[in-house]
């Protein structure tokens, strides 16, 4: 308590020191939260793709934004291959062709027959409101929304929403997964096929009926059969099939995000170092200013250890206060930016308990270390010399 009182009597110096730490920790919290979000996205994707093979048409541009049209025949053909436990025909397409893509992938429509995976899907999707899709939903225009998308559209189960010109009834909202499903709309295959068919050029529309068009096949290998084995077999036997396995996803998407991640972590580390140095500098200045006071305390019987302890405790407390404020401000930025971004589907940050604890521990330890060096040298001064200091 006395320590806090003492700090409050040295308002300017204490405020400046705390401010320096606050800025460093604020940057650390914000950048770490950004890195957390990216990691969660990549981990989620990696988890989603693990143990399965995604098959798209060779002419497709990439993963996740909907492939070129294929026929349901492809799914049937794959289902007949050795080592394949289930082959689920799906339509994946952009949710809103007018809107821009959100961070970490655009909002997407995913259409498939509920239960077609025959229990092989391991990625957990749970409703927080309403229900999941059932096979009986085939033929009706219903939709289950991921957590971010549902929030953006301000939907409750029972509400109606227009997707690509068609009226859908929302029957469920999903729990947050921190990855792709959060910005997805899940609908029965037939409904998605109709939307997909409508989006195709007239020539293709005439060549293939809506109920046969799909954009991808999700293949679950039989247990004991490697996904790469199945992928090779599909590419060999199925015309124009392009495959993506979990391992390949980790390599492709993982390495791309790793670079992005490294940049962000680099910025966070730089802000740490800069923040850390400024803390050490301020702390050193603040101790140097008090050389005379240290001389007084030494003269009236304060031991070196005691003086160092006093200064270091104070430095640690300043670090902790700066850390708390920095964490508070960082948290505020994260919440505000996420809320502001939610309407456009851009949820950029994820502040975890780990990040918060690290930020506090870091600022406190940094404060202690920054105080230790000048405190040690100040306490070693000859008391008479320290007393002469102006």
């Amino acid at each position: 308590m006395r320590l806090l009182r003492e700090l409050s009597r040295r308002k300017l110096r204490t405020t400046l020191t705390i401010l320096g730490i606050t800025i460093g920790i604020w940057a650390l919290v914000v950048f770490s939260s950004m890195a957390n979000k990216i990691n969660a996205l990549v981990d989620g994707g990696s988890q989603y793709f693990a143990g399965k093979v995604l098959v798209t048409d060779k002419s497709s541009v990439g993963v996740g934004i909907g492939g070129a049209p294929m026929s349901t025949d492809v799914a049937d053909q794959i289902a007949g291959l050795d080592g394949v436990a289930a082959a689920v025909p799906e339509v994946q397409m952009i949710y809103d062709p007018e809107g821009g893509g959100g961070f970490g992938g655009s909002e997407t429509i995913i259409g498939s027959v509920a239960g077609a995976d025959q229990g092989h899907e391991t990625f957990p999707l749970n409703p927080v409101q309403g229900r999941l899709l059932t096979p009986d939903d085939e033929g009706s225009d219903v939709v289950v929304m991921g957590s971010d998308l549902g929030r953006k559209e301000k939907m409750q189960p029972g509400d109606h929403v227009r997707i690509r010109g068609t009226d859908f009834q929302v029957v469920g909202l999903l729990e947050p997964t921190l990855t792709a499903p959060d910005s997805s709309a899940f609908m029965p295959l037939a409904a998605a096929q109709q939307l997909f068919h409508d989006s195709l050029p007239a020539q293709i529309r005439q060549a293939i009926p809506a109920n046969q068009v799909i954009s991808q096949v999700v293949v679950y290998p039989q247990s004991g059969v490697g996904e790469d084995v199945v992928a090779k077999r599909i590419e060999a036997d199925v015309d124009n099939a392009s495959t993506l396995t979990g391992t390949e996803f980790d390599q492709q998407v993982g390495s791309a995000t790793a670079i992005f991640n490294a940049i962000i972590i680099g910025v966070a580390v730089i802000s740490l170092v800069v923040g850390g140095l400024s803390v050490i500098n301020t702390m050193a200045m603040s101790v140097a200013e008090r050389t005379r006071e240290i001389g007084i305390k030494r003269a009236i019987g304060g031991s070196r250890g005691r003086i160092i302890r006093e200064l270091v405790t104070e430095a640690g407390l300043i670090g902790l206060i700066g850390g708390l404020i920095g964490l508070g401000l960082g948290g505020l930025v994260v919440v505000i930016a996420n809320e502001a971004g939610r309407d456009s589907g851009t949820v950029l940050f994820q502040l975890t308990w780990g990040t918060a604890a690290f930020a506090l521990a870091f600022s406190t330890i940094l404060g202690i270390l920054a105080g230790l060096i000048p405190a040690w040298s100040a306490a070693r001064l000859d008391p008479v010399e320290a007393l002469r200091y102006e």
């Binding site: 009597r9 040295r10 007084i296 305390k297 003269a299 009236i300 019987g301 304060g302 031991s303």
Partner: protein
């Protein structure tokens, strides 16, 4: 509580000589060619209960002597007969820093010309800090500090910080701080140097009173002959040596 009630005489202890110094030397090496011989071999005895003034022109080494006697500096070991410094019969000249610090806290009180109070602490906290450094628990140190502020007539001002007090008041707080552990030896370096004559007299009379009533041994450095007049003895210094001792019967 009045000042008189709070003061109790210190029980007489052995031996009669509180402080014995022999061959004290100190050379400051300011640069390779510029050395100042502040003390060039000082011998000194201070008796228990004495009030002694050390006087001399500036640069005569009186402050350095005070710092060595107050264990803030060690005497130089080289270039002459080995220095000896005994307090209460105990050799202290060669003690390590930790033991000297302990000794300062337990047996000495310091008063400086420029008060040297900690500016962020209140009068009470300044005084009680000295108690805490001597190992007294915080609560008791606070009570003792309050009593010490009573001795110097500043009990009412205990919550004020140094900048809210006049020079005379600050010096009285410093005096209370030097007394709070009831030290055997009080060392005062120009205690009235920054005060006008009325405040000077006030502080001086307080010092005299504590010396008389409590048998507190008092050693003060001054170049004010009026201050010297109030003491039992005056030790004159010149060029780093004792130039003469003038006994007085105050």
């Amino acid at each position: 509580m009045t000042a008189e009630q709070a003061i109790e005489p210190i029980a007489p202890q052995q031996p009669a000589t509180l402080l014995e110094a022999r061959n004290l030397r100190k050379t400051y090496r300011l640069s390779r060619r510029n050395q100042v011989e502040a003390l060039r071999g000082v011998d000194l005895d201070i008796h228990r209960g004495e009030m002694v003034a050390i006087m001399g022109p500036s640069g005569s080494g009186k402050s350095t002597l005070m710092h060595i006697l107050g264990l803030l500096h060690g005497p130089d070991r080289d270039g002459g007969p080995p220095p000896e410094l005994r307090i209460n019969g105990q050799e202290v000249g060669s003690l390590p820093d930790r033991a000297r610090t302990r000794m300062r806290a337990d047996t000495m009180g310091f008063v400086f010309q420029s008060y040297n109070l900690v500016s962020t602490l209140t009068a009470l906290e300044n005084v009680s800090l000295a108690g805490e450094y001597a190992g007294v628990p915080r609560g008791r140190a606070r009570d003792a500090a309050m009593a010490a502020l009573g001795w110097v007539g500043l009990a009412e001002r205990h919550g004020h910080r140094p900048m809210e007090l006049s020079g005379g008041e600050q010096q009285r707080v410093a005096l209370a701080r030097s007394l709070v552990n009831e030290p055997m030896l009080l060392l005062a370096d120009e205690p009235t140097g920054n005060l006008d004559s009325a405040r000077s007299q006030e502080v001086l009379q307080m010092l005299r009173r504590f010396n008389r009533e409590r048998g507190q041994t008092l050693l003060l450095v001054t170049h004010d002959s009026e201050v010297g007049e109030t003491c039992d003895r005056i030790i004159h210094m010149r060029d780093g040596l004792v130039d003469g001792v003038e006994p007085r019967s105050a």
